[in-house]
Amino acid sequence: MIESVLVANRGEIALRVIRGAKEMGIRTIAVFSEADRTSPHVLHADEAYPIGPARASESYLVQERLLDVARLSGAEAVHPGYGFLAERGDFAEAVAQAGLIFVGPSAGTIRAMGDKTEARRRMAAAGVPVVPGTDAPLASAGEARRAAEAVGLPVVLKAAAGGGGKGMRVVRRVKEARGAFEAAAREAKAAFGDDSVYVERFLERPRHIEIQIFGDEHGSAVHLFERECSIQRRHQKLIEEAPSPLLEPEERRRMGKAAVSAARAVDYTGAGTVEFLYAAGEFFFLEMNTRLQVEHPVTEMVTGLDLVEWQFRVAAGEPLPLRQDGIRMRGHAIECRITSESPFDGFLPATGTVGEMVIPGGPGVRWDGGIAGGSEIGLHYDPLLGKLIAWAPDRARAIRRMERALAELRIGGVATSAPLLQRIMGERDFRAGRLSTAYLAEHQALFDAGGGPGDDEVLAVAAALLEHERRRSRAAPRIARGSMPLSAWQRALAGGPGTGDVDLQ
C-alpha cells in the first residue's frame, strides 16, 4: 500500500482525502497558502507545509512548489483533489516523472478528456451516444452558421478546452450564429487560453445525470450508479442526489453500461465521472471528469463504499475491490452545497470570519466541511464551505431529513446558501422529482426574500425585548443568560389564568 500522500489541495476536499488516508494508515501531508495556515486540513494532517501567498496562482497552482514539498517530506503519492491541478495533464506527468504516484488517471487520459472535441470523437467511436454536433473546432463564423443549420436549431457553441459554463452560447436563430461564435471564442480565449469552439445541439430543459466510474490497471472497469445533479445555477451544481428520482431500472442499466464503455475506451484508471444530458428517455455524453467529484458523498452513502479508499487502492496498483455485481445501492442520498453566497442578494459572494458553528447530527446526516470557528472566508477561493448530505431509505424521507438538518445548521458570521436550499427542499416540483437544469430559472419565487406577517410579529417582539434588556442593563448589548423566566407558564401550569398578566421574577 501507499505509505504517504501529499494532498495538493485545500478546503473540504483536502480534509476529505486526509480523512480517507488516515483511516488507511497513510501518512498525510498537507500544503497551505498564507490564507490557510489555520484551516482544518492543516490541523488534521500529520504534516503541513507552506507553499506561498493566498493567491492560488502563487501557491496551489505552482506545480514546482508542490513537487518540492513532496520531495522534502518524502511523500510517496500525490492526491490532487478536484479543481486546481486535478485535471492538468502536465501535472500528472510531472508527478510521475518525479517518481511519485499520481492518484488519478494517466496524463494521456486527462488530456484526451480535457479536449472536449477529442473526448466527443473518442466516445462516439466507442459507441457512447453523444449530442449531435461537430467533431472538430470551427474555423470561422461562417462555418459555425453552416454547422448550426446542419445540426438543427437550437444549438449551443462551446469552448473545446472548456467547462463550467465559460465560453458557451446558445443560438436559437441562424442570424445569431456569427455574434455567438465571436463571443464564445473570445470568452474561451480569455478563460482557457484557447479559442477553439464547436457546435452541439441544444437540449431544452435536460436533466444532468452522471455516472461514477472506476477503472484499475488490470483492465477492469465498473460503475457505481448515477447521480442526478440537475439543480444548477449557471452550470454550478447546488444539489445532487443518488439515485436519480425518475430513472427507470432499464435506463440506469443502459447508462451505466455506456459509462463503462467510455471508461474502457480510454483505458481509464481511478475514479472518474461520465456526465450525460438526459431528455425524454435519451441520454448523450456531455463530458468526462477525470477526478473525484464534489458530489461523490451521495454515491458513498448509497453504496456504502469509500471512494477515496478505492482511489488509493487503484493508485497502488491493486485490482478494484469489487466486481460490478458486488456493488449495490441502498436508500437515497441528497447533497446540498453550502456556499458563502447570499442567495437572496443575487448570489453575491459573502465574506467574514466564521463564528460559532452548529453542525447537524443525528441519523443519516453527514457533514463534509473545510472550515472551523475562526476561519476567514475571503474571495481567494471557491465559495464552497462544506457539504451537507442526508441519507434515508427513500427520497421522501431523505428530503425531510435534509430539511431537518438544514434547519439545525448554523455557520455564524457569514451568509450562506442554506436558506435557499431549505426552500428548495420544501418546493413541490423538487419534492415530486420534476427536475431539470432549468429548475432554478423556472422557480424564481424561491429567491424572494421576506416571510409571512406572523414572522414579523415575532421579530418585533424579539427586537423590543432585546432593546428593553439593553436599556435596562445599561451595559454592552449582550442579553443576560436566563434573564427572563417563564413564570407565566409556570402559573398556567399551576392552574392560574392562561394568558393575560404575566409576571416575570
Binding site: 437572496f344 463564528g355 460559532e356 452548529v358 434547519a407 448554523r410 455564524g412 458570521g413 451568509a415 450562506t416 442554506a418 436558506p419 431549505q422 426574500a449 421576506g450 416571510g451 414572522d455 414579523d456 410579529e457 415575532v458 421579530l459 418585533a460 417582539v461 424579539a462 427586537a463 423590543a464 425585548l465 432585546l466 432593546e467 428593553h468 434588556e469 439593553r470 448589548p477 449582550r478 442579553i479 443576560a480 443568560r481 436566563g482 434573564s483 427572563m484 423566566p485 417563564l486 407565566a488 407558564w489 398556567a492 394568558t499 393575560g500 398578566d501 404575566v502 409576571d503 416575570l504
Partner: protein
C-alpha cells in the same frame, strides 16, 4: 416606571408595530398579552425566544442604539426599536419641519471612526463631510445627502462602528 411598563414602536420591513413590555416583563402586541422568555444561547448573538410556548431560535446583532439585525430561519432583517415617546417626539419634529424627517447617517460598512468633521447644531449642505471612517485600510468620508441641521453626533474618534449603525442624526431645516 408605569404599571403597564414600557411601550416600544418597532419597525420591521417598513411596517410599524407597538410592543408593550410590562414592568413585570409581560409582552403585549396586537391587543394580546404573551408569555415571553428571551435568553442568550450559544456564543455569537444566538438567542432563544419562547413566545407563548413557541420556541424560536434567532440570531441578534446590535447595530447601534435602537437598531437590531435579527435573523430567523436564515432571513436577516433590520429592525428599529424606539420607545413610544421617542417615536412621538421624532414624528412631531419631522412634522414641525414640514418634511418626513431627514434620514440619519449610517455606517455603510464596519469600521473605525477617525475624525468628526461636523459639529452638532451646524447646518450642513449636501456633500458636507460629517465623519471620516476607516475601513479595509481606507479612509472614507461620509457626507450629508441633504441640507439639514446636525442634531446629534453619536460617535467619537476611536469608536468601532458596525454596519448600518446610526452615526449622526439630523433635523430638517426650515425651507429646505
Amino acid at each position: 416606571m408605569m404599571a403597564q411598563g414600557v411601550r416600544y414602536v418597532v419597525e420591521v420591513d417598513g411596517s410599524r408595530r407597538e410592543v408593550a413590555i410590562g414592568a413585570d416583563g409581560s409582552v403585549g402586541i396586537g391587543g394580546r398579552s404573551l408569555a415571553a422568555s428571551l435568553v442568550e444561547a450559544g456564543r455569537d448573538g444566538g438567542c432563544s425566544l419562547i413566545l407563548d410556548g413557541v420556541s424560536v431560535p434567532l440570531f441578534a446583532r446590535s447595530a447601534g442604539r435602537g437598531q437590531w439585525e435579527i435573523a430567523v430561519d436564515g432571513r436577516a432583517v433590520d429592525v428599529q426599536v424606539l420607545e413610544a415617546r421617542e417615536a412621538e417626539i421624532r414624528e412631531r419634529a419631522a412634522k414641525a419641519g414640514g418634511a418626513a424627517g431627514v434620514e440619519p447617517l449610517r455606517a455603510p460598512m464596519p469600521g473605525l471612526v477617525v475624525r468628526v468633521a461636523a459639529r452638532e447644531g451646524e447646518v450642513v449642505q449636501p456633500g458636507t463631510a460629517i465623519l471620516i471612517v476607516e475601513a479595509m485600510k481606507m479612509e472614507n468620508e461620509l457626507r450629508a445627502v441633504a441640507a439639514a441641521r446636525v442634531a446629534r453626533i453619536l460617535v467619537a474618534p476611536g469608536d468601532a462602528v458596525d454596519k448600518a449603525q446610526v452615526l449622526a442624526e439630523f433635523e430638517a431645516v426650515e425651507g429646505s
